[in-house]
C-alpha cells in the first residue's frame, strides 16, 4: 500500500479510529492492533514477503534475548550477534544482490575469455527490505553493546520492526527511541494530530507536486538519452536533485506525520540538505537516519577517525561505498557512494566545512557543494554507467538550449514554481523552527486546506512508487 494511494487514505483513518477507540491504558491491545495493521499494510504488496519480515523479526528478537541472558558470557553474546547479523544480511544479499553479483561475475569472467553459467533466481525485491533489516540489525547491535535491554515481549518487538509508518522507507528508527514509545500510553492529543496532519499534507505536496512533476521531465530525458542535447540533460540533472528530495523527504514527512497522529515521534530525516556549504554538512542533513546508522554501526566500528588520517580516509571511503551499495544493486550506486566518499576525504584534507561561512564565501561554498551533489545524482539516476557517461558527455560537449515541447515546457514550469515554493517554505520554516509566521489557528488550517487544493490541482495523482521503495 502506497502512502499516495486511495487505499491508504481509507486505511489510515480506520486504523486511527480503531486505535483511539481502545483505551490508552490498554497498550498491549493497541500495539496488537498496530501490528495487525502493519502486516496488512505490508502484505498489500506481496503477502509471501511478510514471511521474510517475520523471519527477520524472530531471528533478531531471539538473538537479543539470548544475548541478554544473565549468564551469557562475552563469547556467547558475540556468537549470537554474529549469527543474527549474518542471517539478516544473507537474506538481504540473496534478494537484493544475488543477480548483481552473478551478473558482475559473469561479465568479469567474460572479459577474461572464460564463460560460466550461473543460475539466475529471478527474485522480486521485497519492498523496504533494506530498511527493516537495518533497523533490526541496529537493535541487535544495540543489545550486544548494552545500550538497550532486549525486548522480552515479542509483539512489542515485532511492532518495532514492522511499524507501518516507517516500515518500507524509513526513517530507520533506533531501538532506544522507538521501543520505549511502544510501551507508553498515547492519548488522542489535539496538537499531535494537527501537527501530524500538517506534516502529512506538506509531505504529499513534496511528493505529488514537486517530485512527480519533476519526474515527468527527468524520466523523459533519462529514459531516452541519445535523443536529448546537453541543455536537456543539464536541465534534467538539475531537476532530479529536487525530484529525489521531494520524493524521499516527502515520504519521510508523511511517515513522521502518520506516526505523530498516533502519538509517536519518529526522528527527523532531512534538514534542508541543499542549503549545505560542504558535502560533510550535506550528509548531516540528508537521510539522517541512514547516515547516522552507517556512522554508528559501520564507520565507528571500523575505527572512525581514531586511527590516524589515512585510516580515516579509508574508513570514509569504505562506509560510503557500502552506503552506495545499500541504495541499489548496481555499479552506478557503488560509484555514487565512492564519489561522495572521495569528496568527503578531499574536504577533510582541505579543511572545508570546518567552520561557519558567511557572505560571498558562503555563497561560493554553497554553489560548489550543490553542483557537486548534482553531479553525483547523475550517477544515482542513470540506469547504467554508460548512461551516466552519456549525460556528462552531453552536458560538457553538446551544450545548447533545452529542446522542450510546449507540453513539456508547462511541466517544467510547474515543477520550477513548485520547487521555489518548497525551498522557500523550507528555508523560512527552518529558520523559524517550523512555525508559521502567525500563530492563529485559523491561518494554519487555511494553509493546510490550500495546500490540499494545490495537490488536487497540480499533483500527479497516478499512484507512482516512491523512489526509495526500491531500496
Amino acid at each position: 500500500m502506497l502512502f499516495n494511494s486511495i487505499s491508504f487514505l481509507l486505511f489510515f483513518p480506520v486504523v486511527c479510529a480503531l486505535y483511539f477507540a481502545i483505551p490508552a491504558s490498554r497498550v498491549r491491545i493497541r500495539n496488537g492492533l498496530l501490528l495487525l495493521a502493519s502486516y496488512y499494510f505490508y502484505m498489500n504488496w506481496e503477502p509471501a514477503y511478510a514471511l521474510l519480515l517475520m523471519a527477520s523479526t524472530i531471528v533478531t528478537w531471539g538473538a537479543a534475548i539470548a544475548m541478554d541472558w544473565r549468564s551469557a558470557g562475552n563469547r556467547y553474546r558475540r556468537w549470537w550477534v554474529v549469527v543474527s547479523i549474518v542471517l539478516n544480511l544473507a537474506v538481504l544479499a540473496l534478494f537484493k544482490y544475488y543477480s548483481f553479483l552473478t551478473d558482475s561475475l559473469s561479465d568479469a569472467l567474460q572479459m577474461t575469455g572464460a564463460t560460466i553459467r550461473i543460475p539466475s533466481l529471478h527474485l522480486l525485491l521485497p519492498v523496504g527490505i533494506s530498511f527493516y533489516i537495518f533497523q533490526a540489525v541496529g537493535y541487535t547491535i544495540d543489545v550486544f553493546r548494552g545500550t538497550v535491554r532486549a525486548e522480552r515481549d515479542f509483539a512489542t518487538y515485532a511492532l518495532f520492526v514492522s511499524f507501518f509508518p516507517q516500515l518500507v522507507a524509513g526513517p530507520i528508527e533506533r531501538s532506544g527511541r522507538l521501543l520505549p514509545q511502544l510501551r507508553e500510553e498515547h492519548h488522542a492529543d489535539y496538537d499531535n494530530v494537527m501537527a501530524g496532519l500538517r506534516m502529512m499534507v506538506w509531505g504529499y505536496f513534496m511528493k505529488l507536486v514537486v517530485a512527480d512533476r519533476c519526474a515527468l521531465y527527468v524520466d523523459a530525458v533519462f529514459n531516452n538519452l541519445p535523443m536529448h542535447n546537453g541543455g536537456s540533460c543539464l536541465l534534467a540533472s538539475l531537476l532530479f536533485p529536487f525530484q529525489i528530495y521531494g520524493d524521499f523527504a516527502g515520504y519521510s514527512l508523511i511517515a513522521i506525520g502518520t506516526a505523530r497522529v498516533l502519538g509517536f515521534r519518529l526522528m527527523d530525516n532531512f534538514r534542508c540538505p541543499y542549503l549545505s556549504c560542504s558535502v560533510g554538512e550535506f550528509w548531516h542533513r540528508w537521510h539522517i537516519s541512514l547516515s547516522t546508522w552507517f556512522r554508528d554501526y559501520v564507520y565507528i566500528p571500523l575505527g572512525g577517525n581514531r586511527l590516524g588520517r589515512s585510516r580515516q580516509y579509508l574508513n570514509l571511503l569504505l562506509t560510503f561505498t557500502v552506503s552506495g551499495l545499500w541504495h541499489g544493486a548496481n555499479w552506478t550506486f557503488v560509484c555514487w557512494g565512492t564519489f561522495h566518499g572521495l569528496l568527503l576525504c578531499m574536504e577533510k584534507r582541505l579543511g572545508i566545512g570546518q567552520r561557519q561561512y558567511t557572505g560571498l564565501s558562503r555563497l561560493c561554498h554553497w554553489g560548489t557543494t550543490f553542483l557537486l551533489i548534482c553531479m553525483g545524482w547523475v550517477l544515482f539516476r542513470a540506469a547504467t554507467l554508460h548512461d551516466a557517461r552519456l549525460v556528462y558527455a552531453a552536458i560538457f560537449t553538446r551544450m545548447s538550449v533545452p529542446d522542450l515541447s510546449f507540453a513539456m515546457f508547462t511541466e517544467v514550469f510547474t515543477a520550477l514554481v513548485a520547487i521555489t515554493v518548497m525551498m522557500g517554505c523550507e528555508i523560512y520554516l527552518s529558520r523559524k523552527f517550523r512555525q508559521l509566521p502567525v500563530s492563529r489557528h485559523a491561518v494554519r488550517l487555511s494553509a493546510m486546506v490550500m495546500q490540499a487544493a494545490v495537490i488536487l490541482l497540480f499533483g500527479v495523482l497516478g499512484g507512482d512508487q516512491f523512489i526509495y521503495f526500491q531500496f
Binding site: 486511495i6 489535539y190 511541466e411 487544493a453 490541482l457 497516478g462
Partner: protein, 302 residues
C-alpha cells in the same frame, strides 16, 4: 479534547469541499477562455463538431492532417479532432462517444498506432486529459470507471482539471491558437533535419481489452452509418515485420479500409519533412495531406 478534534477535522473537510467547488468553477472558466491547445479542442468536442469528416488520433493526427487541404479536395467540411498525448484507443473511443452524442459525421479517419492494440503499463493515463468532460456523456463516463478515476472526478471538481491545469493557465497569457486551423496545429520547422529512418522495435503483444474497444469503435461507426478509415501516417522509422498485423486483421474482418503510409515508407527519402521520427512539421503535413486527400477521395467515391 476529542470533540475539539472532531469539529476541527469537520471544518477542514468543509473548507476543502468549498475550495474544491469554487476552484473547479474557476478552472472551468479558465478552460473556457484559454488559448492553449487542449482547452479549445475539448470545448469543440463538448459544444458539438459539425464537420462531415472528422480526423481522430494522437499528436500524429493533430499535427499531420491539414483540414483546408482535405476540404478542398473532398468538397466536405473537415475537423481535426486529434489530441496530443491521447495515446490509445480508450481516448479515441471517448472522443468518438462525445462526437456522436452531438453529431453524425459522414467519414471518420482514425490515425492508429501500436499503442492502440499493444499492452502498456498505464493504458488509461491519457484519459485524464478528457476529465473536464466528465459528467457530460454517460457512456464516456464508463471509461473513467474503467480507468478507476470515476470517483476521484465525482468527488473533486478541481481534480478534473489536474492534467492540464498549468497549460490552461499559461494559455490565458500565451496564445497558442494563432496558427491553428480547424483543430490542426502546425509544428514548426526543426532546427536540424532528423537523421534518416531509425530502427523501430516490432511490437508483438496484444491487449485484448484494447482490441475489444477497437471493435466497439468500429461497431459504433457502423451503427451510425459512418464510413471509417484507419490510417497510419508517415513515420521516419523502419520496422522488420508487419507492425500493424493485429489492426489490419480487425480492419479486414470489419471491412474497414486501412491506409498504411508507414508500411509504404512514405517520405523516408524526405527526412526534411519531419520534425522528429514520429512527427511531420507543417511543410511535411501539407504535402502528406494532399496525398491523403486524394487517396481518401478515391475511397469515398468507391
Amino acid at each position: 479534547m476529542k470533540r475539539r478534534l472532531f469539529y476541527t477535522l469537520l471544518c477542514i473537510l468543509l473548507a476543502l469541499f468549498l475550495v474544491d467547488r469554487l476552484g473547479g468553477m474557476l478552472m472551468s472558466q479558465i478552460a473556457r477562455h484559454t488559448q492553449d491547445v487542449l482547452g479549445p479542442k475539448l470545448r469543440s468536442l463538448d459544444e458539438g463538431i459539425t464537420a462531415d469528416v472528422v480526423l481522430m488520433g494522437t499528436s500524429r493526427c493533430h499535427h499531420h492532417y491539414v483540414p483546408s487541404i482535405l476540404s478542398d479536395t473532398l468538397g466536405m467540411s473537415v475537423y481535426n479532432a486529434g489530441v496530443g498525448g491521447s495515446d490509445n484507443i480508450f481516448s479515441h473511443y471517448l472522443v468518438l462517444r462525445h462526437v456522436l452524442s452531438h453529431h453524425t459525421p459522414k467519414v471518420i479517419c482514425l490515425d492508429v498506432m501500436t499503442s492502440d492494440f499493444a499492452p502498456e503499463t498505464a493504458p488509461f493515463l491519457a484519459l485524464s486529459y478528457f476529465a473536464p468532460l466528465f459528467g457530460h456523456c454517460e457512456e464516456a463516463d464508463s471509461l473513467f470507471m474503467l480507468a478507476g478515476t470515476y470517483w476521484r472526478y465525482k468527488l473533486s471538481h478541481l481534480y478534473r482539471y489536474n492534467a492540464k491545469a498549468a497549460s490552461n493557465i499559461l494559455g490565458l497569457v500565451m496564445n497558442r491558437q494563432k496558427d491553428a486551423e480547424e483543430g490542426y496545429m502546425p509544428l514548426p520547422k526543426p532546427a536540424q533535419v532528423p537523421l534518416g529512418p531509425i530502427k523501430e522495435k516490432l511490437v508483438t503483444g496484444r491487449d485484448t481489452l484494447k482490441l475489444d474497444y477497437l471493435r466497439r469503435f468500429i461497431g459504433l461507426c457502423r451503427n451510425k452509418r459512418v464510413m471509417l478509415v484507419f490510417v497510419v501516417s508517415p513515420r521516419l522509422t523502419i520496422v522488420e515485420g508487419n507492425q500493424y498485423k493485429a489492426l489490419k486483421a480487425i480492419a479486414q474482418e470489419n471491412g474497414v479500409p486501412f491506409l498504411d503510409y508507414h508500411g509504404q515508407q512514405l517520405y523516408h527519402n524526405h527526412p526534411e519533412y519531419f520534425k522528429d521520427a514520429l512527427h511531420l512539421w507543417d511543410e511535411g503535413a501539407r504535402v502528406f495531406s494532399s496525398r491523403f486527400a486524394s487517396d481518401l477521395r478515391q475511397l469515398v467515391n468507391q
